[in-house]
Amino acid sequence: MIWPWRRAVQALVLASVVLFPFIARYGHYLWARQTEKMLSLWEGSAAGLILRGTDALMRAGLPMEESGVAGRRPRKALLARADNFVGSVPWSARVFGVSLTDLLAASESALAAGSLLSVLAVGAIIPLIATVLLGRVYCGWICPVGILLPLIRRLRALVAFLELPVRDVRFSKKNKYALLGAAAAITAAGGLPMLHHIYPPAILSRECHSFATVLFDRAESGLFGFPWGFATGGMLFLGLVALVEVALAPGFWCASLCPGGALYSALSRWKLLRVKRAKSACIDCVICDQKCPMQLQPMTDKTGAECDACGVCVDACPTRALSIRFSRTDAALLILFALLLAPPARAHHIIGIPHYAYDKSFPQAPVLRLRDKIGPYEVTLTAYPGNPKPGEKSEIHVYVADPATNAPYEKPVLLEAHRLRIFGFQEKIADAGEGLVDMGLHKFQVFYPVEANYEVVLVLPGLDGTSTLRFPMVIGEPGSPWRDVALFGGGFLALVVAVRAVKIKRARAAARERIA
């Protein structure tokens, strides 16, 4: 039985992908001595729950005691622990002081910059050696996408149940080498790494970081809703891959298109770990060929460098003819090598006091500083608080100056506020008015009646040509109308699926009755 081990390792990696960003944030609050404050402020919210969970996880086994004071959070010990988990698993992370960098990351960075720095080589050496010796184990055992995609592919059962066409398009496994080669050429020529935009594990870990950042940043300014807007373009790409996996070509990404898979396969030509087949036991049943997620043929020993040592064929074989193994000399060499790799001891001691003014304004001051240009002038608009609650007074300060001469704009500045309704409709909530002029600043006070998206419009009547500037202003957590449309669309789709499923179920039951 190989699969339980493999799934356990993958689940561990996936958990790290999700947890590392939270641990980092937790570490930040520890540095700032704000953990207790945040925990009590965020009681009952998702952010508070996550912080509490992270705290419990990190504190496991440590007594609540620091410098002889019982009941005080063991800050130094926790910081030392948090320092063991830095970065984006598995793209590039420092785990227990050992720097590990994906070979794809390392090669695209070195290629784009045109030289290899020793720091980078140090981080890539363990993955490189592991790949050369063990082959594409990264894909089968480490990559978190390897556990997510099979889960998503379960939706194919739903597609089949709904009597929609279930397609199984196969692509050539050579595609990924073409992709890798082309991308390498573009990277080398353009001087910018590109593959992390389309490499699912890199996207996944970036999105997890983005999620934690947006969630906690919003919580710091008192907003506790779901952090929509954390997703970047990479999320769209992941969604697209998932869609194709379900609807069109299961397993296509890992087997035929993943640039990381291409690199790992290319490096594992002389690997030692291989699928062995006992010819006498094999009954040519083709089960292994059908089950192989990499679309290889273990029954005829056609596995080679593409094999990711996932062990699916080994588990599936009814006569136990297949196994994954080293030759005996290889194994001896490996053990020797593992001894060489024993991690060096590493001392921590971290004492730190956050800097001046950290506590005073932590949660961080709700800063909003929007800038734009109009005519020869540069306009800076700040609002305090930046994202006020409905009914709360918001101070808007506008500074208009000519950047060339640094002369402030002397003529009047008017400010209007509009509430934005869906599809471009607006509603004026504050008429154009002149503000208080103080040392070059135009100061306005605006009250926003309800939670919504607003637009602050500045009018500079003294200017020729365009004289209005528009700045977005978000009050509370109104979300975007597009989100509502998407939620509605998703709900509608789910309803259609459910209705169709019920219909099919009834039709089948009726058919059975007719036969009986």
Partner: protein, 205 residues
Amino acid sequence: MSELTRREFLKNAAATGAALAAGTALLRPAAAETGVIRPPGALEKDEFLSRCIRCGRCGDACPSQAIMMFTEANGEKFSLKPGPGDDGTPIVLPRQQACNLCQKVSGDYLRCTEVCPTGALAKLLKTEVTTKVRMGRARLDKNLCYSYNNKTCGVCIRACPFPGTAMKTGQGERPIFDSNFCVGCGLCERSCIRYPQAIMVVADA
């Protein structure tokens, strides 16, 4: 094995091309957006962008949470929008949280430069801060500064980690900058009590 038919070829070329197109579309060279402040030790712009693999280690390691990954959500409060080449790269938004140069953190190195796996942030000793860190330079707008308008303030002078060199005290606590010594940490910008602040750190062009 199977013959490579035209249909097969087109199908595979389409799949590869689509993936490649997605990558290059997101890659397009960074838009004209300049002037973002990079963490200490960052190489010059082009080389930094080539070396950085957008892993976020520096942000995780930063003890004062000053390093943010440049995403639309993080930039929008400051009217900053990442160009495609900038997406996910580390920036410092000093008005929100300035870099304290790991002044009161133990260890010999600046933490972000110590964890950077690619050398996009060159590893820097804390003793090298004054000579090797150039995140930007502070620029003062005298129209906005209280001290230059006969109201003494001096908050920035108290926040500066290099008082007397990077920032000297003038009459009525007027800050006087010396850009030869300013490392661009942004602590003055962070501490300024005016909204909008009178001091802004601008990246070297």
